[in-house]
């Protein structure tokens, strides 16, 4: 484990924990942005430039802003939220989380995927990603596009109904 990775991982984990435990929603949202940036830097550290930058562009630039906007528009963001960060059944939660983690870790460690040496990854250019998206992954791409269009139409319909009701 390289020191850079250790720092990035620690930052990501710390900000994720902070996002769960802050009492003000906006603080949680801001530390979630920090988590997203931490993930992006881990991608960049792993030489996955495109994914890392898209992570920043989409998650920090769009998703986080959307979350923040939603908080601003729906409730008084300056007050502390009344929800306690640690629920009463936190022990059960911890047990479930531990069990899930153990199962996953056992499955991953037991699989043969780890024995193989990682293939020497070729330089992944944007052009290659584009070609793959347009040939091999064209159906998933189209499905995602359809889903997003449906969501957008839904949003428009909700907005229109509000206007009619007025």
């Amino acid at each position: 484990m390289s020191p850079v990775f250790a720092i990035l991982a620690a930052m990501t984990l710390a900000s994720a924990i902070a996002a769960m435990s802050f009492r003000k929603l906006v603080h949680s949202a801001l530390s979630m942005i920090l988590t997203f940036s931490g993930l992006a830097s881990i991608y960049l550290h792993l030489n996955a430039q495109f994914v890392g930058l898209v992570q920043v562009l989409v998650y920090v630039g769009a998703v986080a802003i959307l979350v923040v906007f939603a908080i601003l528009l729906t409730r008084d963001s300056t007050r502390d939220s009344s929800v306690r960060s640690l629920a009463k059944s936190w022990l059960t939660g911890l047990l479930v989380a531990g069990a899930v983690f153990g199962t996953l870790a056992a499955a991953i460690l037991g699989s043969r995927a780890l024995d193989r040496a990682a293939p020497q990854a070729a330089e992944i250019t944007v052009k290659k990603i584009g070609e793959q998206l347009m040939t091999r992954y064209v159906i998933p791409l189209e499905v995602v596009a359809l889903l997003l269009t449906a969501a957008m139409i839904g949003a428009v319909i909700i907005a229109m109904r509000e206007k009619e009701g007025k």
Binding site: F50, L53, V54, V56, L57, V60, G61, V68, L72
Partner: protein, 397 residues
């Protein structure tokens, strides 16, 4: 001539070779950062002076003329004033977020400055996905604006922040889409490669800049409009509309933090102008073959200066837009036009393979028509809507 052209590159190599090999990358990065901060810091100072002087002259005023000859030391006086002012934090403000917001703005903006090629071999960081990096860090600036607006606990701040975020999200689409046409033609996201693709001369004397093609010209205009909105410049300065919401998200900032915000906004404008130079105006390439001997960084900064002056000129000319005009302009005009521009760029790309006589002329005419016809019809549609009904008053007759 090559020595002068590469003087900064060789200087850096010369300075770096004194250090042991282990720390050389660090020293090299530090030198680049220092050069960037010094250069853009002084450009910022000069720009504030030019802006105040030019706006004054446009309004038939004198502009700053007290500090130094022609008021040239005005930026220095402003800097001393800013740094010695009291740093006021509102009592009810969220102190930590309020404190962090200026840094959250200045960091992404200075990161964005790092990928632009300022001259031959003079890109501080040559990323394969330079364009993507630029927009990714640019998106992070919105978070800073939100932090500033929310943490000030002031209605004007939050209104300004919400306006700013809505505006930045809306204008990021045309900004990115007008860039995509360039990326399509060049076939690379690297800003260095994009400049190199424009480093040739058409017909022996015209520069091969993208702005001199139909799709490039339309893309350049769209990009500049979106860039003005993205950097909160007039006529899109609604987030800090002084007459309505005091100073928007900057209302509760003073002293050094205010100066940092100001610096961040201007650096954002420089960065986006630098990107426009790189994408459309040929970066560091010379405009004519007989001027190739002039060092490359001179060309880059001359073009950057021209775009900054254009921004100032526009600020002195146009009044501020209304928020509904701003939104409908982005979504009903800029977005469709930039989508059409992508199609035009694709046609241009495939028409390069035509082999009949006068093919390049036909290609030019076809693409120009494909840009001009939607533009004119949009213009007609927008002008047609502008019907003013007879004014009716409630009490007066």
């Amino acid at each position: 001539m090559d020595q002068i052209d590469q003087i900064f590159v060789s200087l850096k190599h010369w300075a770096v070779h004194f250090f042991p090999a282990v720390v050389q990358p660090l020293v090299s990065a530090g030198l680049s950062i220092a050069a960037l901060i010094a250069t853009f810091g002084s450009i910022f100072a000069i720009t504030t002076w030019v802006e105040r002087k030019a706006l004054g002259r446009i309004q038939n005023r004198l502009g700053p003329n007290r500090v130094g000859p022609f008021g040239l030391l005005q930026p220095l006086a402003d800097a001393i004033k800013m740094l010695t002012k009291e740093d006021i934090v509102p009592v009810s403000a969220d102190r930590v977020v309020h404190y962090l917001a200026p840094f959250a703005l200045i960091i992404p903006v200075s990161l964005a400055l790092a990928v632009i090629p300022y001259g031959r071999n003079m890109a501080p960081v040559d990323l394969d996905a330079g364009v993507l990096f630029f927009f990714a860090v640019g998106a992070a600036a919105e978070v800073a604006v939100f932090m500033a607006g929310w943490s000030s606990r002031n209605k004007y701040s939050i209104l300004g922040a919400m306006r700013a975020i809505a505006q930045m999200i809306s204008y990021e689409l045309p900004l990115v889409l007008s860039t995509i046409s360039v990326v399509m033609i060049v076939g690379s996201l690297s800003l260095v490669k994009i400049v190199e693709a424009q480093n040739h001369f058409v017909l022996g004397f015209l520069p091969g800049w993208h702005v001199l093609t139909p799709w490039g010209f339309a893309g350049f205009v769209l990009f500049m409009i979106a860039a003005a909105a993205e950097s909160n410049r007039a006529p899109f300065d609604l987030p800090e509309a002084e007459s309505e919401i005091i100073a928007g998200y900057l209302t509760e900032y003073s002293g050094f933090k205010y100066a940092l915000f100001f610096l961040g906004e201007y650096w954002g404008m420089f960065a986006v102008s630098g990107l426009a130079v790189t994408l459309f105006l040929g970066g560091w390439t010379a405009p004519f073959p007989f001027l190739v001997w002039v060092p490359s960084f001179v060309w880059f900064f001359a073009k950057l200066g021209a775009l900054i002056v254009l921004f100032i000129w526009i600020r002195g000319t146009l009044p501020r837009l209304r928020i509904d005009q701003l939104m409908s302009f982005a979504w009903k005009f800029l977005l469709p036009m930039s989508l059409i521009n992508i199609v035009v760029a694709a046609v241009w790309h495939f028409a390069a393979g035509w082999s009949f006589p006068l093919a390049s002329l036909w290609r030019w005419v076809l693409c120009a028509a494909l840009v001009a016809i939607p533009y004119l019809s949009f213009g007609r549609a927008m002008a047609g809507r502008r019907r003013f009904p007879k004014r009716v008053y409630q009490y007066a007759t």
